[in-house]
């Protein structure tokens, strides 16, 4: 923790190497959120870079290492949701959106299951999708998700419940009576 505080102080003083270390420390979290939410590697990288650039311009407002993590998670989530909402107004059909081919009966392998699940997650509404990503990627409690997304905790719980129900239904429809 003291190391993180030291990195912050050095970065505030203009040390680019310290900033690079901060980026490396948090890049998997930020990029992972964008990647799991958007399902587009190039877009996820672009968006993650913008999050870190915004961090660089707002270093003065970061109070601690914990606050830095919270700030990154919040900004990344909001940027992802904003981007998805903007993109919805001018829909582009990517390869990710093409319906998956029918899966041979009984041939359910984990990678396929995982990939299908990711694709179904992408079909969730923006806010609900980010709730699911934060819950399962970052292992956050509903109260933490509520704080990160500026959302009432009951709304978070409701999003989670509905999303899981929708995903379970779709997975069952796709893979049959698989124990999901």
């Amino acid at each position: 923790m003291a190391h993180a505080e030291d990195l912050l102080t050095r970065t505030r003083n203009g040390d680019h190497a310290a900033f690079a270390e901060i980026v490396r420390e948090h890049q998997s979290m930020v990029y992972g959120l964008a990647r799991n939410f958007l399902r587009d590697p190039a877009l996820a990288e672009e968006l993650s870079q913008e999050v870190f650039l915004e961090l660089y311009q707002n270093l003065e407002s970061i109070k601690s290492a914990d606050h830095l993590k919270f700030w990154l998670r919040k900004v990344a989530s909001n940027r992802c949701i904003d981007h998805a909402r903007r993109a919805k107004r001018r829909p582009v059909v990517g390869l990710e959106d093409v319906p998956e081919p029918a899966t041979p009966e009984g041939a359910v392998a984990d990678p396929i299951l995982s990939d299908t699940l990711k694709r179904y997650v992408k079909t969730l509404p923006e806010a609900a999708r980010m709730v699911v990503v934060l819950r399962y990627q970052e292992d956050l409690a509903p109260s933490e998700i509520a704080e990160a997304l500026d959302m009432p905790i009951n709304t978070v719980k409701s999003h989670l419940q509905r999303s899981l129900s929708m995903l379970r239904e779709k997975m069952t429809r796709c893979f049959g009576e698989v124990n999901v």
Binding site: V23, E45, M171, V180
Partner: protein, 181 residues
């Protein structure tokens, strides 16, 4: 905990970005940061330049007003053939000697010719009036001194304004400098 929870945890894991991500972020830093740095002075420079411009306008306006204001009533100067001297003549003036033609100098009480009257009453406007050195002979010395004083004051004011602008620029440059660790 259901299997769906486990599957979601496996599916939605953190992912590392492609190699060199941090370097690519850093490569964008100078450009982004320089934009920020450039924006700040502009915001700060605006009031400084406005203040300098306002000072300049005030100085110019003051000088113009000073030039436009009629000078203090010049002391009565005797003209050959009439008038009573109340003050001693200025150094530029020479006492006319016997038999010589007296020099043309304006008298305070309308005892001068119509041409001098025109010169004295014409408002001074730089583009339209005659060159200064041509009218010197037709003016009272006091007018010239006032003009010179005004010009000197104007130059002094310009010099002070210039110093102020330089000080503001120095301050802005100091604030732009990023302290090294």
């Amino acid at each position: 905990m259901s299997n769906l929870d486990d599957e979601l945890r496996l599916a939605l894991t953190r992912e590392e970005p492609p190699e060199g991500f941090a370097e690519r972020v850093l490569a964008r830093l100078p450009r982004e940061a320089s934009n920020v740095v450039e924006m700040r002075p502009r915001r700060r420079m605006a009031p400084a330049w406005l203040a300098a411009a306002a000072a300049l306008v005030l100085v110019a306006g003051g000088t113009w007003a000073m030039l436009e204001t009629p000078p203090d009533a010049p002391p009565p100067i005797p003209v050959a053939g009439g008038g009573t001297p109340t003050t001693s003549p200025t150094p530029l003036e020479t006492k006319p000697e016997e038999g010589e033609k007296p020099p043309v100098t304006p008298a305070p009480t309308g005892k001068h010719g119509p041409r001098i009257e025109i010169v004295r009453d014409t408002p001074r406007r730089a583009p339209s009036r005659k060159p200064r050195f041509e009218t010197v002979a037709h003016r009272a010395p006091a007018v010239d001194e006032a003009e010179w004083r005004a010009a000197e004051q104007f130059m002094l004011a310009m010099s002070i304004t210039n110093d102020k602008i330089k000080t503001v620029q120095r301050n802005v440059l100091d604030t732009r400098a990023v302290p090294e660790t």
